[in-house]
Amino acid sequence: MDIKAYIALSLTLFSIGIIGVLTRRNAILVFMCVELMLNAVNLLLVAFSKMHAASGIAKASVHYASDAQIFVFFIMVVAAAEVAVGLAIIVMLYRNTHSVDINFLNRLKN
């Protein structure tokens, strides 16, 4: 398949993520949008990896074929850890304030 389609999809997902982060006030939604952005990047990484694996450069070294895909696993692990911490924070937030509105969290100001 043409790489351009992957790029377009990835860009679309990333943009949706950014717009979500910027516009949403619900902490869980913001969180999901951040995940969306991470996954857009993951998608792009895998797509480029496959593209390079087919090209001549990768023939010289096996690593070129798989490095980016391994990198994606790292990102997934970090994202999972992040989710664990982030969701815990949101739960605590909800317990204390009965709200998950991020604009409510500016109480350290002043």
Binding site: I18, V21, L22, I102, N103, L105, N106, L108, K109
Partner: protein, 632 residues
């Protein structure tokens, strides 16, 4: 011990030790101990000075360097003493008169607290130390240390009763005016260092040193003029004389020691010491003569109308110093030193006498409120009369010989000598007049004070009268060291000083001298009689008018200085303070601070705490980076 001169360093050191003991122990020592230490060290110095004097009389002198005071590569200034005839004579005056005044002070200052009493004596000892350093110094720098030291002590002692604001400003005035003179002295020293490469008197006044100075353009006149400016400050000559009358704020013994007998003669000593240099500078000598003459006349005229007993004596001192400068200006250095000697006796005597009067009057200094004191305090009155006769120049007393020598020296100046003589003689007549005005108003006639004061009148204790008697005797016989040849003497002082100070070249023939002496004596007696007829039954006088008022207000010189120098200076300072400092420098610094403060307040608004805004800005930033990356 082979030579007492080897111990000469003890002479200034002893007063310094006295200063340290009295100064540091002022809280523990009793008045008796303080008096013992204070007077004892001066007495010991005096005894040593007499022994030194005996040696120098035999022609034994000593130039010695104790250690390096300043040592910069090839340029060295040693801590040098020069003990010769001139300095040993001054040693005698300082320690001798100083000792008498110390003794007098033990009684005069007896009402002070223990602590203040010790403070007073420590200052007095420090003064004697500085003055001795000044006259013993073997180069200009060591002399300058003493020169500054006496200025400091003068300041401390004028402001001794520092709780009185008027007294502290008098002290400030004395110090500041002296500083102006000191600057002249310093500049002269630097100039000498530049030309000669040394400040040692022997080197500077040697043939090579003098030729180095005379070969440089303007140097002789410039250096001597600067030194003379130094002398006008210390010795209270026009234009820097106004501090001396104000210096009377200090205790009376201080006025006697510092502001009559010793410190104010430092300028004369310095010029006499540098006489070789001054003899080469004709213009400076003319200026010195003119300034001395003007000061003698001006101060004498002011003294006629003063009503404060100490102010009269202060102006008299200024006037007598003027006489000494006339002698210096006419190249008659011996006469100047001679007058320093006799003046030290009779002026210290009169100041101490006035102190005795003030003591008896319970602090009153206004002669209009005195009168008829003779029967109450005979010793003071008689010794004061002797002082007046001596300063007026009655034949036989010390003032006659020294003043006559100055007059004769003025007369024999080539060209304008007779005019000079006339004006000097006139100033001398004024002296006789105002001194006897003071005497008659104070001691004769009827008492004009309050009943309480009259009841309180008493002769002073022995510690005060004995110095008076000793000084009176010295005032009578002090002149016999310098009897001129015309009167069958040999002028022993001139012979004694001849190795250091060369005698005046001009000699009058004896007949002229007889005529001059007769003329001045006659006129002095006439002016005394005039004062007697005018003031023997003084009953106070009305408000002074016309010229008298000008004199009473001291020719308005203080007011003139106030408006010409002090006022513009103050306005200038106010301008610098208000405009340059506050608006200019402060304004600039403050506006920098304000700008930072204001801009940070504005920038602070960016950090609103809205996470969304941060993210938006971050995205915008990233987009901007992309755009730059892609299209630029």
């Amino acid at each position: 011990m082979s030579n007492i001169l080897e111990l000469a360093w003890l002479i200034p050191l002893l007063p310094l030790i006295g200063f340290l003991i009295n100064g540091l122990g002022r809280k523990i020592l009793s008045k008796g101990w303080v008096s013992m230490v204070g007077c004892g060290v001066i007495l010991a110095s005096f005894i040593l000075s007499v022994m030194v004097f005996m040696q120098t009389k035999n022609g034994i002198v000593l130039n010695t360097s104790y250690f390096d005071f300043i040592n910069v590569t090839s340029f060295k200034i040693g801590f040098e003493f020069k003990i010769d005839q001139l300095s040993s004579l001054f040693l005698l005056i300082i320690t001798g008169v100083g000792f008498l005044i110390h003794v007098y002070s033990t009684a005069y200052m007896h009402d002070e607290d223990n602590k203040d009493f010790a403070k007073y004596f420590s200052y007095l000892n420090l003064f004697v130390f500085s003055m001795l350093l000044l006259v013993l110094g073997g180069n200009f720098v060591i002399m300058f240390i003493g020169w500054e030291g006496v200025g400091l002590c003068s300041y401390l002692l004028i402001g001794y009763w520092f709780k009185n604001k008027g007294y502290t400003s008098a002290a400030n005035k004395a110090f500041i005016m002296n500083r102006i003179g000191d600057l002249g002295f310093l500049l002269a020293t630097f100039w000498i260092i530049k030309l000669v490469g040394s400040v040692n008197f022997d080197v500077v006044f040697s043939r090579e040193g003098l030729s180095a100075i005379t070969n440089a353009p303007y140097a002789v006149t410039g250096i001597t003029l600067l030194l003379f400016i130094g002398a006008t400050g210390k010795s209270a000559q026009i234009p820097l004389y106004t501090w001396l009358p104000d210096a009377m704020a200090g205790p009376t013994p201080v006025s006697a020691l510092i502001h009559a007998a010793t410190m104010v003669t430092a300028g004369i000593y310095m010029i006499a010491r540098s006489n070789v240099l001054f003899s080469l500078a004709g213009h400076t000598q003319t200026l010195i003569t003119v300034v001395g003459l003007a000061t003698a006349l001006l101060a004498a005229s002011i003294a006629i109308k003063q009503n404060d007993i100490k102010k009269v004596l202060a102006y008299s001192t200024v006037s007598q110093l003027g006489f000494m400068f006339i002698a210096l200006g006419t190249g008659n250095y011996i006469a100047a030193v001679f007058h320093v000697l006799t003046h030290a006796f009779f002026k210290a005597l009169m100041f101490l006498g006035s102190g005795s009067v003030i003591h008896a009057m319970g602090g009153e200094q206004d002669i209009r409120k005195m009168g008829g004191l003779h029967p109450h305090m005979k010793i003071t009155s008689i010794t004061f009369l002797i002082g007046c006769l001596a300063i007026a120049g009655i034949p036989g007393l010390s003032g006659f010989f020294s003043k006559d020598e100055i007059l004769a020296g003025a007369y024999s100046v080539h060209g304008y000598g007779k005019v000079l003589y006339g004006i000097t003689l006139f100033a001398a007549l004024l002296t006789a007049f105002y001194m006897f005005r003071l005497y008659f108003i104070t001691f004769t006639g009827k008492f004009r004070g309050t009943q309480d004061q009259e009841h309180h009148l008493h002769e002073s204790p022995a510690a005060m009268t004995i110095p008076l008697v000793v000084l009176a005797i010295l005032s009578i016989i002090g002149g016999f060291v310098g009897v001129p040849e015309a009167l069958g003497g040999h002028h022993e002082l001139a012979a004694f000083l001849s190795p250091v100070v060369k005698a005046a070249e001009h000699q009058l023939d004896h007949n002229t001298e007889y005529i001059l002496m007769g003329l001045s004596t006659m006129l002095v007696i006439v002016s005394i009689l005039f004062a007697w007829s005018k003031f023997k039954n003084y009953k106070g006088e009305g408000e002074a008018t016309g010229f008298g008022k000008v004199l009473q207000n001291k020719w308005y010189v203080d007011e003139l200085y106030q408006s010409v120098i002090i006022h513009p200076l103050k306005s200038l300072s106010a301008f610098f303070n208000n405009v340059l400092e506050k608006k200019g420098i402060d304004g600039f610094v403050n506006s920098v601070g304000k700008a930072v403060h204001y801009s940070s307040r504005q920038l602070r608004l960016l950090q609103s705490g809205q996470v969304g805004l941060y993210v938006l800005l971050m995205v915008i930033g990233m987009l901007a980076l992309f755009i730059i990356q892609l299209f630029v």
